[in-house]
Each structure stands twice: as structure tokens, then as C-alpha cells.
Symmetry: C2
Subunit: 215 residues, 2 copies
């Protein structure tokens, strides 16, 4: 038993252990994103992974923590993909488009996984108040937001984007990516991924910097 109230009881894992843990994460990802967090039983995950129920609790303290770990790992991957796609030399507006398009592609490539960020959106559903997971989630969403806000500010400074609350622009950018993600997944949208990415990229560019003829 873990007497310390500290962060977490660290366990040492063998090669095989790490692999097994990943299997569980993979199985959970598929199930969570297809049936939702609440409708996925621990038993389901175990069945999918072909192991006994107790084993989950060897690798994860709770179901919530398992979920949190998934989200963390997703976020890491996504941010890596974004960073890789953004040309550090380019102007901020271009960087936003690159990041946006990369996100769309990434999301399409990892539909099952990425659905989690959708669930994340309805955090309320999970965080019955004061849940530690709620913090992880909320904190994480902000990362993207502040990122985009910074880019928008830079763009405004360079006259690429009209004045206005950068926060608002950021919400728009992030929201549209999330929306198309959602639509692509459970939606009637069957378009080529690259095509979609280009569309979303264009959409964001116009929304940020476009000009309408008249009101």
C-alpha cells in the first residue's frame, strides 16, 4: 500500500510490462472513442486486450487516470505534429495555417485516438467537480489557446490580421479544427484528407485575414 500521499506510486516496468501497458492504452483508446468514456467498462477494455480485469489496476490507479494518460499522450503527439509542420521562418499567419492543416491531417490519421479530444471537450461529463483529471484536461486545452493567441498577436503586429481580441480569433481557429474533426469522424463528410486540410486551412486564412466586399 502506498502510505505516502505523494504524487504517485512509481512502479518499475519491464520491457514486456511497458508493452502490455501500451496494449491497454490502445484498446482503451479504441473503445473510449467509439463508445465513449462512460459507456466503456473496464471489463471491455480487458476483453479487447485479452487480459484479466485486475491487470488494469497493476498499470493504472483508476479508470480516470487511464483516461488522463491517454489524453496526455495524444496531446504530446499532436503538438509534435504541429511543431513539425510549422516553418519557423514563415510569418505567423502562414504558421497558423500550417499548424491548422497539420492538425486536420493528424486528426484524420488518428481518428480513433483523436476522438478523445472531443470527449475532452465535454469535460463536464467527466469531471464531477474537483476531479484531478479535470485539471489535466483544462490545463491542456489552454496550451493550444495561448499558442494561437501568441501567433495571432504577432500577425496583428505585422498587419496581417485586423485588430481585435486575439482570444476571439484563437477560439475561432481552434474551434473550426475541432468541428471538422468531429464532422469527419461521425459525419457524412467523406472527402480526401488533404483536400479537407486545404479547405480548413483556407477557411482559417479567410476568416483571419480575408476581406468581405460589403456589409
Amino acid at each position: 500500500m502506498n502510505t505516502s500521499t505523494g504524487p504517485a506510486e512509481r512502479r518499475t516496468h519491464t520491457e514486456q510490462g511497458i508493452e502490455r501497458k501500451q496494449q491497454l492504452l490502445d484498446a482503451a483508446a479504441v473503445l473510449f472513442s467509439s463508445k465513449g468514456y462512460a459507456n466503456t467498462r473496464i471489463a471491455d477494455i480487458c476483453a479487447a486486450a485479452g487480459v484479466a480485469k485486475g491487470l488494469v489496476y497493476w498499470y493504472f490507479p483508476t479508470k480516470e487516470e487511464l483516461f488522463a494518460e491517454l489524453v496526455r499522450s495524444m496531446r504530446l503527439q499532436l503538438r509534435r505534429a504541429q511543431a513539425a509542420a510549422m516553418d519557423p521562418e514563415a510569418d505567423p499567419l502562414t504558421r497558423i495555417r500550417q499548424g491548422t492543416e497539420a492538425s486536420v491531417v493528424f486528426m484524420a490519421e488518428h481518428r480513433a485516438y483523436f476522438a478523445l479530444l472531443d470527449v475532452e471537450r465535454s469535460q463536464d461529463e467527466l469531471s464531477g467537480r474537483g476531479s484531478d483529471v479535470a485539471d489535466v484536461l483544462r490545463e491542456g486545452s489552454d496550451v493550444y489557446a495561448t499558442d494561437v493567441v501568441r501567433l495571432v498577436r504577432d500577425a496583428q503586429r505585422q498587419g496581417l490580421v485586423p485588430d481585435g481580441d486575439p482570444q476571439l480569433y484563437a477560439v475561432g481557429v481552434l474551434g473550426v479544427v475541432s468541428s471538422f474533426s468531429h464532422a469527419l469522424r461521425n459525419g457524412s463528410l467523406d472527402v480526401d484528407v488533404d483536400e479537407l486540410a486545404a479547405f480548413v486551412g483556407g477557411w482559417v486564412m479567410r476568416a483571419l485575414a480575408g476581406e468581405t466586399v460589403a456589409r
Copy 2:
């Protein structure tokens, strides 16, 4: 017990009964949108409404059905607000903006209620497959989509919006409204509602019809 497999067991309600039912719906709306569907117990709703638990089942067959009824009524209200805001004489693009702005305002005025549509977005969370509620929800989202698609088509026919899959444009429009709704609710966005509505309206206009200088 309801022997018929038919639609539903109709109950006759007195004046008072209808009122009581509405009280329950109101209480449920507040709780669902603040704590989420899964985290709201039937008992909570009853406590909030100041009635005994059994009473819920006098007015609603199940918790899910109670939720579905809320969603239905929300949707009705929203559509009314949209319809009222759209000038039937105006061009489709303008109508889209009017509908968009009306949605934002409506959503702000009914934050508590409107949060439900957010939950709706994460239907997966609720619909453990084959749930009747899933159908209600899915079917309903399509209403907006086809509406917007039609408007976009009209706009394209008039050369107001460039060619391209209208479905994609529609997803963008609906998504952005939903995103700002979400951000306004649990977010750090504290802006004037009308200001926000105007921003979103402008955003959508630019995204639909705007022109970027160069790629």
C-alpha cells in the same frame, strides 16, 4: 407496465401537472449543463425541484427520455429564434449571418440550457449504441446542417460564395457557432454578447466569402 410496444403511454396532465413537469425540466437543464448528464442523479434533480424521487417517473419514462425532451424543446426554441432573425427578403449570405448572430445571442441568453447542445455534441457519451435518444439527437443536428447547406448552395448560385462542397462550408458555419458558444460558457471569454455575435458573424462572412491576398 406498458404492454404495447407503441410510441408511448400518453398521460393526461392537469394544469398543475404541466407546470410541475416544466419545473423538473428546468431543474434538469440547470444541473445537466453545469454538472453534465452522467454526473446528474435523478435524486439531484428532485432535490433541486423540491420533490420526491418517484415523481420524475410520473412524468418521464426514463432519465434518457427526460434529457431527450429537453433537447427537443431547446432545438425548437433555437430554430424559432433563428427564423425570426432571418430576413426572408435578404440574400442567402446575409441570411446566414443573421442566423449565425441570432444563434450566438440566443446561446448567450440561455447559457444553461444551451449547454445541452454541447453535450449533444458528445452524443457518443450518451448513446451506448442503439439508444433511441441517439436517433433524436443525430436526426436533429442534421436539420441545421441541411438548412445551412441549402443557403450555401443558393449563395453559390448567386456567386456570393466560391464553389466547393457546401457540406464543408456548413460544417464550418455550425462548428464555429458551437465553438464560441462553448468558449463563452466555460471560457475566459468575457466579451459583450452583441460584440461577440458581430465578431462571429463577421468571421463566418469572411470565411465564406472573403478573399485572401495570396497563398
